[in-house]
Homo-oligomer: 537 residues x 2
């Protein structure tokens, strides 16, 4: 049996285009002589779908698409995922379903049981009443599961022989989004599961970014002993073929194993690219300060969209240093992106003058710092409005955490590229970007970080050093540690309290943050839901 | 048996203060000779809690608080709600629990089964394995339920007699947030349930606002026939006493039944008041345009915070009409609130001049309109930063829906007061505000709405008439209607398509909207979760 693994990039809600893409994949697999082609979970609809799942017409359109795809399955079969309302069962919410389509019709359907790992969980999805099942294809049993249901498959494996349908293969279709923390662990889990069950496994994941969520692909085939038989590249569309004729897949050796930073880099590039592609825009704009964050975003955007589609705007104030302007221009030259320079003095002075009556006698404080940041956002948004550029936000995760940023100023943007990347990781990304030669001027990397909103300002005036700040934040966010646990682990008590208080006070700012590209297991926006007003922490 | 109903206003995460408030309530009830005092669901913790529920220390602190409250229960018993992890059952996520505390200890505990109506649902809460139960108090059976579990109580009522514990009373503790659509229906449902079960009912709800959610109170006692025996006022803290000695509650007649607009008005006032109280601020700022939306927000804020704590800023441009400035000043005089006038010409000119090179030869368009809105936001935020005012957002639900607003401009603010109020309802609120005499100048109510961002501009240049727009939006949002259904109901096809396209295109703006006070069954922010980038609709 020759099986095609189709790792494709779908659009949320674009049932028509996704269906066309799936049917094209079926043709291609058929031309290559495949017996079966496997698409991912929610391939027909894309995901996450949110409240689209509450629209009857949407789910009905998915049902029609499955019919259309089935009609394309002559002399080849396919497995494909879609939401499905079982009207005969009186269901209201859809199941998250996998269909085996052959000879023009639905031959089998399996529904997902563990819907808590679906986007929105049981709020949107009906949970299957039975666990994973063995379906029949060409007189072979296939244990077909969706997402996390793979880990409930032991029951099906144990019970299957008594049902006369002992499986010869596991197929798991998924829509698992990227996070660098668990990317490798998940593969190890799957290997372990092959060994436990004594079955080979095909895992087909979505690829492509949907606003915050980046689906990495990384579809693979594993032999009975968990040995690597095939791995599709991450972050790109691909189709590969594998043969089960001998009852197992043969080992092919391991692919290139990328580092954590390479994974994050490639995820962010895809995140930017797909946000623009899928929302129908081509050109990005950002403010380039000469600092590390905007430099890294500029380089990522140039990689994703082409340097000719990236407009970097230098907006120096009286507090900007010469080296900042030089570093920013150095990056522009290295990348070859578009640029403009607009000094903000005139408009900052106008604000100062207009407010001089109301503010009479009051000293310069964070107000005037914020005005500068908001002048810059207004200029960038004006260029965005006039020319159709999309504003990229350059705030990093450490700043988002402690509220070191100006709402409607440097926190503005349509997409926060580094919002899930700690400051210390931003430096790693910069060094990764320079791996084959200087793109980001070294001075941007080595100088002490500063917002340059008042003379001689440094981030370390207001914040703990980033290496310790990032460690505390990582423990609190990704490891779900209580402050009390951190203190007993030896973190400085006063520092932990200070960071927790900053985290809490910044909730109101983060509430209005742009969507953040998620690259960790817990990103702001998608994975940190603290009350805006609360007294705890 | 004399029972006290304690309808109190808790703070999210402020376990210490909530506990003190509960213990004070116990003392007060004891002094009045009550046998039992009933507090609401999640009284100890406040709600919604979000990711606070993932912190072990937080749930442990709730457990300690329950012990402390139990210790205060001598010669009186209490029923109170809190999250609770049952370690003996190996549970990880907390139950949403109700405790009967007496003689210094926990006498009974009931856990909630239908956790889908809790905030966050099964993502945060363990679901009880058994349904509603009858607990014993003073040799009487009480059918104790939490929230929606009341509607599963039939089983307990049916089974109870065979268990020898036939209930004499139902007590339902709740944390039901306000929406005008179902406020009255819910009372009718409870009445129906009394008749069905033949039992009297005490319903104790939270009161007070927690950012977006406004808990209305409205706690009540109903007799066996569903007759009204007691209803606590809505939107305020209160404690009342009722006697069950005769085995039933006696009818007392109905309270004042407020209109929909009065309910919305009172909910919004509480929403503003508690946002400020609970975040530790006193003073609000807003831009006053002379239009209806900012006038209504200004009046609501003055009611909630006192006119002396409200700063209205008039920021006319060259496109502002004289009547707008006059109408705004009329309102300021009527309310007696603080005010400043800052014309934005100087700073708008500075932007124009700074961008003249980049924009050379290009005509005036939405860019320049947005710059004006962002000048105003920057001025308001500067005053907010300098003086500690909190910026109130004045966008209404109709505008939010169709994206008729400027991100980082008039969409800025810490709290969106009217974000869940359709434009047509804003007019009703204005007339309600003027019920005893003119507060909002009549001209603000009767003139055609305009953003005044270019000469002679009217909302109706860009938008459908509000009466028809609001009808379509209501059907789509509150009634979950598909566009195709609306068309078959007789709504103009082109208009429906236009509105749906506007709704979809505005997702990216709404993503960055301030928290919106929820007053309907489906508000943006808390109850409309569409993908930011999608091709459907």
């Amino acid at each position: 049996m020759k099986i095609a693994v189709a790792q494709l990039n779908y659009e949320v809600g674009n049932i028509q285009q996704n269906t066309a893409k799936i049917i094209e994949g079926i043709s291609k697999a058929k031309a290559e002589g495949a017996d079966l082609v496997v698409f991912s979970e929610m391939a027909v609809s894309g995901c996450p779908l949110g409240d689209l799942l509450l629209l009857n017409q949407f789910v009905e359109d998915c049902r029609q698409a499955i019919k259309e795809i089935a009609a394309a399955c002559e002399d080849i079969a396919c497995i494909v995922g879609a939401p499905f309302v079982d009207k005969s069962a009186g269901g209201k919410r859809p199941f998250n379903s996998a269909f085996l389509l052959k000879d023009g019709v639905v031959a089998s359907r399996v529904d997902k049981k563990n819907v808590s790992d679906c986007f929105g969980g049981s709020e949107y999805f009906e949970s299957a009443t039975v666990g994973p099942q063995v379906i029949e294809f060409r007189e072979q049993g296939i244990l077909l599961t969706i997402g996390e249901d793979l880990y409930d498959a032991d029951l099906a494996v144990a019970e299957a022989p008594s049902l006369g349908s002992s499986p010869a293969l596991m197929i798991n279709i998924a829509a698992r989004s990227f996070d660098h923390n668990t990317m490798q662990t998940r593969v190890e889990e799957m290997k372990g599961w092959c060994i436990t069950s004594g079955l080979p496994l095909i895992f087909v994941n979505q690829v492509g970014a949907q606003t915050e969520y980046i689906f990495p692909g990384g579809s693979l085939a594993l032999g009975k002993k968990g040995d690597n038989a095939m791995q599709l590249d991450r972050f790109i569309e691909d189709m590969a073929f594998i043969d089960l004729s001998g009852g197992d897949f043969s080992e092919t050796g391991t692919n290139h194993q990328p580092s954590k930073i390479e994974l994050i880099h490639d995820a962010l590039v895809l995140g930017i690219k797909d946000y623009f592609n899928k929302s129908g825009f081509k050109k990005a704009i950002l403010g380039l300060s000469g600092g590390i964050d905007s430099a890294v975003v500029c380089a990522l955007a140039a990689k994703a969209l082409g340097a000719g589609n990236v407009m970097a705007v230098l907006m120096p104030s009286q507090y900007s240093t010469d080296h900042s302007v030089n570093d920013a221009m150095g990056l522009v030259r290295n990348l070859g992106c578009l640029h403009e320079t607009i000094a903000i003095k005139e408009v900052a002075d106008a604000y100062e003058h207009m407010l001089s009556g109301v503010f009479k006698g009051l000293p310069f404080d964070v107000t005037e710092e914020n005005v500068q940041a908001r002048c810059r956002a207004t200029l960038l948004m004006a260029m965005s409005n006039k020319f159709g550029y999309i504003l990229l936000n350059t705030s990093n995760k450490s700043e988002c955490a402690v509220g070191y940023g100006t709402l409607y100023g440097d926190m503005a943007g349509a997409l926060a590229v580094l919002g899930d990347v700690y400051k210390t990781e931003v430096y790693e990304l910069a060094r990764f970007t320079n791996r084959d030669g200087e793109i980001i001027p070294v001075n941007s990397i080595v100088k002490p970080p500063s917002a340059e909103l008042r003379p001689g300002q440094k981030d370390s005036d207001s914040l703990p050093e980033y290496d310790i700040l990032d460690k505390v934040l990582f423990e609190v966010m990704e490891n779900f540690r209580d402050p009390s646990e951190l203190k007993s682990q030896g973190f400085d008590e006063e520092l932990v309290d200070k960071i927790m208080a900053m985290l809490r006070r910044a909730e109101f700012k983060r509430y209005q943050s742009p969507p953040i590209l998620k690259v960790s297991s817990r990103a702001f926006g998608t994975g940190w839901h603290m009350p805006v007003v609360s007294k705890y922490l």
